[in-house]
Symmetry: C2
Subunit: 397 residues, 2 copies
């Protein structure tokens, strides 16, 4: 009998009414003759509320204890779902991480899964039970409770589906993956499928429907992941290896307003100084993303780079120890605009076409970075909508 691992996100189980809806949806699948393993997130805003409690007792809560605290959210929702299923006449059993030996590498707050005892789950499935698993949590080899990071229940679900040789279905509050965020572009088209690589580029760029580590795990084990709307028959999106024949030049656009650009102007072209600056930025745990540098002119150069908005004060304080205030300019109105597509590997003209569209619309590109399947341009935020609609139209997203 085919096993399906379903995962329901926090918004899908935020109330007992919604838990009932989810239970009925699970039963529908069960009646179709599948074995069902269901991973649940914590109800609604529970995890944030638990974190808030911890911050009431400490500004910097101990990481071990914080993990033990926030892991309780999924225990609550998984028990309630099992109670509802039993109430509706379908045998169900919930498990916490320690009960199925869901082992991790033991890093608090961002563990990765190392193993799961699938025999415990399979023996319950054989008895006809629906197995509910508390997502987001695992235990270390020392029986310490460790969580997988925000959104980690996605990773729980993919890991389980790999171990159980099961189909993997992620149910959430959006009905699939779009080439462009529908909140930013109304005519956005839903994708029938998207490759792991594309999804990873989109996820890390802030179009995050899915936990990036879950997609990586799917890619590693070539496990197809279905993403769809909870308790609905609307067709969602498959995250797959991607078929060679169907490669699209561009699959999606991701935009992010979370960074600022720092422009250091007219400084000496001193390679030691530049190295020292970026070494110190790294030491301060500030994440530099895009970097561009002008050619030396009269032995002077300009350097620009982006850092997260949240680090604005820290980066300025740090830079002023090396460079005169007058040479530093901060641009808070930048948008990182990315197009992602497997097709870029083969089709070299994508960048050229993108630049043409920008040129036609008088959009200045301030910085550029690329990966094998992605081009990212920093542009002025005021051009965001124009860029999205024109690029989306051109590539039919």
């Amino acid at each position: 009998m085919q096993t399906i691992v379903q995962k329901y996100g926090g918004s899908s189980v935020s109330t007992t009414k919604k838990i009932e809806k989810v239970a009925k949806s699970i039963i529908e699948k069960k009646k179709q003759g599948y074995n069902l393993v269901v991973v649940v997130s914590a109800m609604g805003n529970t995890t944030n509320e638990l974190i808030k409690l911890s911050l009431e007792v400490s500004k910097a809560p101990d990481k071990r204890e914080l993990d033990a605290l926030i892991a309780t959210g999924e225990m609550v929702s998984s028990s309630l779902l099992a109670i509802k299923l039993k109430d509706l006449g379908f045998d169900a059993i919930s498990f916490n991480a320690f009960q199925i030996n869901l082992k991790t590498n033991g890093i608090y707050g961002k563990s990765s899964i190392s193993d799961i005892d699938e025999d415990i789950i399979n023996s319950q499935l054989k008895k006809g039970k629906i197995v509910i698993i508390a997502g987001f949590q695992g235990i270390s080899d020392d029986n310490e409770i460790t969580t997988l990071g925000r959104g980690g229940s996605d990773t729980s679900a993919v890991a389980l589906s790999v171990k159980l040789n099961a189909k993997c279905e992620i149910y959430t509050d959006v009905d699939g993956i779009y080439g462009v965020d529908p909140r930013l572009y109304k005519e956005a088209k839903k994708l029938d499928e998207i490759s792991y690589e594309e999804m990873l580029e989109l996820a890390s760029l802030g179009a995050g429907v899915m936990h990036a580590r879950a997609v990586e795990l799917g890619q590693k084990y070539n496990k197809e992941i279905y993403v769809g709307l909870s308790c609905s028959n609307i067709k969602g999106t498959y995250i797959t290896e991607g078929l060679e024949m169907e490669k699209r030049a561009v699959s999606g656009i991701a935009v992010s307003d979370d960074d600022i650009a720092i422009n250091i102007e007219n400084i000496d072209y001193d390679i030691n100084l530049i190295a020292k600056i970026f070494t110190n930025i790294a030491k301060a745990n500030i994440n530099v993303d895009m970097i561009s540098q002008t050619m030396p002119f009269n032995n002077k150069i300009n350097i620009s780079f982006t850092v997260p908005k949240a680090d604005t004060n820290d980066i300025l304080k740090l830079l002023k120890t090396f460079i005169s205030f007058d040479n530093i300019k901060v641009d808070e109105n930048i948008t990182k605009f990315s197009v992602v597509g497997m097709g870029m590997k083969d089709s070299s003209g994508i960048a050229a076409r993108l630049f043409e569209i920008f040129k036609e619309n008088n959009i200045e590109i301030k910085m550029i970075t690329t990966s094998e399947i992605r081009i990212t341009c920093a542009i002025d935020s005021k051009y965001k909508e124009v860029a999205i609609s024109n690029v989306a139209k051109f590539f039919d997203l």
Copy 2:
């Protein structure tokens, strides 16, 4: 180094402010040079709220899942307390039942503790850590989460103090054990000590400061239990074996308004009928407490007995299948009034003195039951205050 097991009840950790207060109280003891193991209940009303959630999804929640659900309350409070202690600069570590192998007999909702791995706790104490334990929970041999029944954290604390050869301190929202409930009798005196047996009689009769099973466990292992007010230096009460010399005739009064009296009047003196009635009451899981029967007169008798108020409808429905409606009278205004004292074992005059006090105050005794150290009388509820104040005054409670 002497180890102390402290237990803090739900009202003592109902807010993060109160958790801070408890943490400071723990630190005070720690500074006095003790090893500290702290058992906590769930914050305030958490357990009831979790039960309420379960009732929203099912009228009769599955017992296994309900236990897994309500066990989370203590995980939250124990993590928060550990976070607060670490925040205040004292090393602490919290443990759930599965992490210290706190094993039970596996009965959902009312498990008893079978074993605890004290080595795990002792190794943390040796490192100087304050060990926090989630109360109320244990795991079965099959790794099932099982709870110990309402108030079960008391039992967790006593079991731990037995295993760790530690002192046992139960902190709650009352400052000790009184001979009479101070809410019912303002001049009530606090007891310096009380025997296990007396405490058990008082606990089971509704004067329940302490979980009865915790007291039984203390008695079994002769573990002295201190009961006192959280975060205070007010001297509380020791529950001990009880010193022969200091036996009081009467240690306490317990009253309960939770029962009704059923009077079956003027029925045939038919021993088969009577047996059948009480067999069927037992089968219906209705708990009959006091029973009295008049002497046969013209082969007719009266039988009276008490049952919990909650069972009123069930008992009437059941009785009507055997006896005519006209012969059944329900008395809803009865109070079970008990005096408890180790001294009764030796001193036979206690009952006589009690009845005299009742007679002087025109209080009619409707039924009587006794144990070795207790006399219970069912009286009309309207005499409750008079009975309490006169008996308390006479026995100096």
